[in-house]
């Protein structure tokens, strides 16, 4: 048994060291990604193809790190567990192997969660843009460009009094000739930029929603752990206290269960209110889109 214990301890230490090395490598990768992303995005096409490829490659490498850990779990941890978990002839032997397996898996899970959080945060930082400035810039560019459009027939300046998001016919008010007006790239990007700006402005509501969503899960897990601890509990006083604690946690969890979808609805409404402010001529479409989204979410 002592020999096995030493083997398990050594394997666990190797796992710790392995995960530390992979974390360092992931950090180097993500730091490099963030620095490089700035240059790539600056020189990219309007569709962001170069950045998309760069992002996919980075995600691919992060995935390789996950696969490496998965492989270690499958080849170094689980075979040891399966080999020894049923050998329960010695007292405490089986529980030692189970606890070791659980500790290793918990470490792997924690490592994966941290990696996911680091990856998401790096991508979010790399992609962050002040959409207030971008939107205003597109709008100003459109208004400047539409002032330089003249009738192909008589040369008079065309009266363009609204925002067009795609190519349209404009009739010359002087000679009645029908002209084709292409509003240009900035106008075509206005709807997309407005949506991103509306989401950015509504972000605090989404963060609140995510807080309650996470809180619901955390409270559930706390109550679940208390439930598990009751399985072998004999002391009635402790049982009573734990059951009361479980009931309190459940009450708080129910508040979060109600609050999270309410906040999601609030977030959607906020995004579409912002969109209506930014592009008031599309209000009717926004409202239909809002109904479709809320129907789907429900």
């Amino acid at each position: 048994m002592q020999e096995l214990q030493q083997h398990l301890e050594a394997t666990e230490q190797r796992l710790d060291a392995f995960l530390v090395k992979l974390t360092q490598r992931a950090q180097e990768l993500l730091n490099g990604f963030e620095q490089e992303a700035v240059n790539i995005r600056r020189n990219d096409t309007i569709y962001g193809q170069a950045y998309s490829r760069f992002l996919a490659a980075t995600r691919g490498q992060v995935q390789k790190l996950r696969e490496k850990v998965k492989e270690v779990e499958e080849t170094q941890i689980m075979p040891v567990f399966y080999r020894h978990c049923t050998q329960s002839s010695l007292a405490g032997f089986s529980s030692m192997v189970y606890e070791w397996r659980n500790r290793c898996q918990a470490k792997i899970l924690q490592w994966e969660e941290q990696l996911y959080a680091s990856e998401s945060a790096a991508i979010e930082r790399a992609e962050w843009q002040d959409y207030e400035t971008v939107f205003q810039s597109h709008l100003q560019q459109y208004h400047a460009e539409k002032e330089k459009v003249y009738c192909k027939q008589c040369g008079a300046k065309l009266a363009i009094n609204q925002v067009y998001y795609y190519t349209v016919y404009i009739t010359c008010t002087f000679c009645q000739t029908q002209n084709i007006f292409n509003p240009g790239t900035s106008a075509r990007q206005l709807e997309d930029t407005a949506r991103k700006l509306a989401e950015q402005r509504s972000r605090p509501v989404l963060e609140q929603q995510q807080f309650y969503q996470q809180r619901e899960r955390d409270l559930y897990m706390q109550a679940h752990e208390l439930q598990l601890s009751l399985i072998h509990e004999k002391n009635n006083q402790i049982i009573k206290e734990k059951q009361q604690a479980i009931a309190r946690l459940e009450e708080q969890r129910q508040e979060a269960v109600v609050k999270a979808p309410q906040l999601m609805e609030e977030y959607h409404r906020s995004v579409f209110d912002e969109l209506n402010n930014l592009l008031p001529d599309l209000r009717e479409h926004h409202e239909k889109f809002y109904r479709a989204i809320t129907t789907h979410y429900q």
């Binding site: 190797r14 796992l15 392995f18 090395k21 992979l22 490598r25 990768l29 193809q49 490829r53 760069f54 996919a56 490659a57 995600r59 691919g60 490498q61 995935q63 390789k64 790190l65 490496k68 270690v72 170094q76 998001y165 795609y166 190519t167 349209v168 016919y169 084709i180 479409h285 239909k288 889109f289 109904r291 479709a292 989204i293 129907t295 789907h296």
Partner: protein, 189 residues
């Protein structure tokens, strides 16, 4: 479904017209040629395009998007757009036919494409360069296979997915070798 107002034509352009037009545009057919075949001018096309996208956004049941996918797969049979091809689109007909007939070949190229993107390559361009199949043609065949997949059982689907994953791993290893390895190849347990 036929009574759904979201499926009514827009300025005379039906969802089938719109879907087939998009299949052609995805295959690098110029928008001017698509408009000519449909008998409309570009401003009409752009408004139609904008309105069909808006209808999809307003459709909480995804009926329009689903039907568009079905029509996309039938673009070759469209009476006005079926025969329209890009001047430079000399697709490798042999590979394209194999893609449509051989599920294993289709899964392999899917795996290769995914592996290429994860290696930082343009997966669609890689398939075009190596197999002469454009993104538009590939997606059209993908829609045909998607209809087949809807009818097949879990085991069959799982078998093909496993095959795709195997191929993806093979191509990933190949791309990694070409690029000097993966980020943590030197870290051992």
């Amino acid at each position: 479904m036929t009574n759904n107002p979201l499926l009514e034509p827009i300025h005379g352009i039906s969802l089938y017209d719109y879907s087939a037009a998009n299949a052609r545009l995805a295959n690098n057919v110029p928008v001017e040629d698509v408009c000519k075949a449909l008998g409309i001018e570009q401003p009409v096309w752009e408004e139609v395009n904008d309105l069909w996208v808006k209808r999809m956004q307003e459709d909480g049941e995804f009926v329009v998007a689903t039907q568009m996918g079905n029509y996309f797969a039938q673009a070759d049979q469209h009476p006005k757009l079926g025969s329209l091809k890009a001047a430079a689109a000399a697709a490798d007909q042999g590979n394209l036919q194999q893609l449509a007939a051989d599920r294993y070949f289709y899964e392999e190229l899917n795996g290769a494409r995914e592996a290429a993107y994860e290696a930082g390559l343009d997966g669609a361009q890689w398939i075009l360069e190596n197999y002469g199949i454009s993104l538009g043609d590939f997606q059209q065949v993908a829609m045909q296979w998607s209809q087949v997949m809807q009818q097949e059982g879990y085991e069959t689907m799982n078998q093909y997915l496993q095959y795709r994953q195997e191929k993806k791993d093979e191509y990933a290893a190949r791309f990694a070798e070409e690029q000097g390895g993966n980020v943590a190849d030197d870290i051992e347990f």
